[in-house]
């Protein structure tokens, strides 16, 4: 319970902009983020950038009274940081010209978009957990581009074709689970 209370304090600090609390968050999470970024081809400045964006994004989303975190605060924030970094990596890959002047107004939009994407990502993760473990496992391989032959070997399927059929079925189930959730419709509606 004490941990929960402290987690609440950290989240509240982020919601209200309590610098003392946010500094404590830095102490807890930043070293992990830095280690993660180093491991994934980033530099220290990237880690600082990711941490700032993740904090602002979380603060932004947590302004909504109905916002809750089901895991630990630290774990949750770290997940957001990892996702922010994935986002950055993808953007860098996509960026054709690198000489775009960094526009602060643009950054606000980036954070707003990232918050929206994170929300969708969380919904998709929740739905993945809702299907059978067997499906989750095989789809985990599939979405991460493991070849059918290897999946067959790992999960003991007779042929690649059986794997293929199983994936189709599981994917369809997952798709239905997402589609039938009103939050998905809400995220897609303009």
């Amino acid at each position: 319970m004490i941990t929960q209370k402290h987690d609440d304090y950290l989240l509240q600090s982020l919601i209200t902009g309590n610098e003392k609390g946010i500094k404590e968050i830095y102490g807890k999470v930043y070293p992990k983020v830095l280690a993660y970024i180093y491991k994934h081809d980033g530099i220290e400045d990237d880690a600082k950038d990711v941490m700032q964006k993740a904090l602002l994004q979380l603060s932004l989303r947590a302004q909504d009274k109905s916002f809750t975190i089901s895991s630990s605060f630290e774990g949750y924030l770290f997940t957001i940081c990892k996702n922010v970094w994935r986002r950055e990596v993808k953007i860098r890959k996509n960026r054709v010209t690198n000489s775009v002047v960094f526009d602060p107004l643009h950054e606000e939009r980036e954070i707003a978009l990232a918050a929206y994407e994170q929300e969708k990502w969380e919904l998709f993760q929740e739905k993945l957990i809702s299907i059978s473990e067997n499906c989750r496992k095989i789809l985990g391989y599939f979405f991460n581009k493991v070849p059918y032959s290897k999946i067959a070997k790992e999960l003991d399927y007779a042929t690649e074709n059986t794997v293929r059929q199983r994936i189709f079925k599981c994917k369809s189930k997952l798709k239905e689970a997402i589609q039938s959730d009103s939050r998905y419709k809400e995220l897609k509606e303009l």
């Binding site: 102490g27 600082k48 950038d49 941490m51 904090l55 690198n98 978009l113 929206y116 994917k171 369809s172």
Partner: protein, 268 residues
């Protein structure tokens, strides 16, 4: 698994012949339901791939995104962003390796301020110049970096020149970038430019630029009070320096609020 699902899969996996692809694209165009279905499959492929991330189109006007934007641009949003930056600075001030150097700097700066303060208090100056105060208080080390990642572009070079205190060259390069891109600089670049101007004694231009910053709706607009106060001290315009500081001391969330309070006391 319906036929449609199989078709979508085949299309996404690139398993269709050109003719089949074309036929499928026509089908997509003709039906919103099919498009929605297709979109979800596409999303799943990206969202569940641990090496990938689904980037929303920048022009997306979803109400949630707009709502987020409105908040970020609100006063509260700006203050929050500032608090996070402050907390970060505090964290690194007590944790970074380069700490010692900074610490020494602060001590010497504090000593300088103290000495100057004593001088003023004892009224040793008949016609005091306040440039000392400018020199004692200027600290450009906390300016946010202009480039997020790529450190080979011109903006990064200009920033490097600035950091190396080669202000004239930095200013020239900033101006050149503006000309080449045929755009006005963003506010963060403007701060760099104005400081560079201040450092090479283009004081009037610097003050003009800081005034522009103050009147902007930029996230950094509040920083203008501190910079303007320093600029006015540099040109020995105490009345204006004071009035900037008075404004700064009214808002605890503004940049360098605490230093502003102290500096104002010294001037009074």
């Amino acid at each position: 698994m319906s036929n449609l699902d199989q078709e979508i899969e085949a299309y996404l996996n690139g398993e269709m012949t050109p003719d089949e692809s074309l036929a499928f694209e026509k089908k997509l165009e003709s039906s919103l339901t099919i498009r929605k279905e297709f979109e979800l499959y596409r999303e799943m492929n990206i969202v569940y791939n641990e090496q990938d991330w689904e980037i929303t189109d920048v022009s997306n006007e979803h109400p949630k995104i707009n709502q987020h934007l409105t908040f970020l641009k609100s006063k509260k949003g700006e203050i929050l962003a500032e608090s996070i930056k402050n907390a970060e600075n505090q964290y690194f001030a007590t944790n970074s390796i380069g700490n010692k150097k900074k610490y020494l700097y602060y001590i010497s700066a504090a000593a300088a301020i103290l000495i100057i303060g004593l001088f003023i208090a004892s009224k040793l100056f008949t016609s005091p110049s306040h440039e000392h105060l400018y020199l004692a208080h200027k600290d450009w080390s906390d300016l946010p970096s202009l480039t997020i990642r790529n450190n080979t572009n011109k903006l990064a070079s200009a920033e490097k020149l600035f950091k190396a205190q080669n202000y004239k060259a930095a200013l020239d390069l900033f101006n050149k970038i503006e000309q080449e891109n045929n755009t006005k600089s963003n506010w963060q670049v403007l701060i760099y430019k104005a400081i560079a101007q201040l450092e090479i004694n283009q004081n009037t231009l610097a003050i003009e630029n800081f005034k522009k910053l103050k009147q902007s709706n930029s996230l950094d607009a509040h920083k203008a009070y501190w910079y303007l106060a320093l600029a006015y001290l540099k040109v020995n315009d105490i009345t204006n320096a004071k009035s900037e500081l008075i404004e700064l001391t009214k808002h605890s969330e503004y940049y360098n609020h605490k230093s502003g309070v102290k500096l104002l006391k010294k001037l009074e």
